[in-house]
Amino acid sequence: MVQTDLSAQNLGQKSGIPHYTKRLLMWSFSIGVIPPLALILALSTRSLYLLDYVHVISGGTWTGFDIFMGLVMTRIMRLLDIPQRVEIAKRLTPTTFFIVPSLAATAITAGIYLAQAEGKFDLSSPWIIAAGIVVLVLTGQGFGVFMPNGLRIFIELSKSKPDISKIARLNMQNIRLAGSQAIFQVIIILIMAHLAVY
């Protein structure tokens, strides 16, 4: 079996956190605070219309992002060499670090407030229970896989000898998982459509 040394030095890459990481994290944070701030605005103005809008736009953007990652990015990443995948991971991880969890948390929180405001938050309803199970799965994936993987990528990048193949693998895992999240989100939208109509 041929052993491949994928250390940064062998791939001719500079080790350490790239200079643009902080800038991308700042960008991600500045976009990431918008959904919860919009939710605060909706609740402080007692606007059901704005609450509904925040829930739909944050949930829709979150779903769209995951579908894009699952259907488009996985195809693109498979066609790239490992060093090229790492270059994408270095930029994709900080850019999405705050935006996606913020969209997810806002969509879920606004959804609960909306269901309560419309008198549909009945914990004995099979539709609400089903929605709750899907939300738990999505949250578990977010806390258990997405975020730790993102942090591990940052840690690996700041090592003097980063394991390039590990960075590529963690990033690919996140992109594939985003695809599986898209399936759960399509299911939850089906549940939401039922709750909205009936």
Binding site: G16, I17, T21, K22, L25, F29, G32, V33, P36, L37, L39, I40, L43, S44, F97, F98, P101, S102, A105, T106, T109, I112, Y113, Q116, T139, F143, G144, M147, P148, G150, L151, R152, F154, I155, L157, S158, K159, S160, K161
Partner: protein, 65 residues
């Protein structure tokens, strides 16, 4: 005030802190062994601060609802 929403935010924040703590302690060990530079720890602290801010905003929504 929505007490159940506030508790949920608290539980999620605790989960976040425990995961961050585990990852940070591993990173801190690597830093002490000289395997990684201080920039990585700085980024982790920055990331934690950002997530705590998002949780504070969500806690405000629980108070407002």
């Amino acid at each position: 005030m929505n007490i159940s929403a506030l508790i949920a935010v608290g539980v999620f924040a605790a989960a976040l802190l425990s995961i961050f703590g585990a990852v940070y302690s591993g990173a801190s060990r690597s830093h002490k062994l000289g395997e990684m530079n201080a920039d990585g720890l700085g980024i982790l602290r920055w990331a934690l601060l950002g997530h705590i801010t998002l949780f504070i905003l969500l806690a405000i929504t629980a108070i407002l609802s």
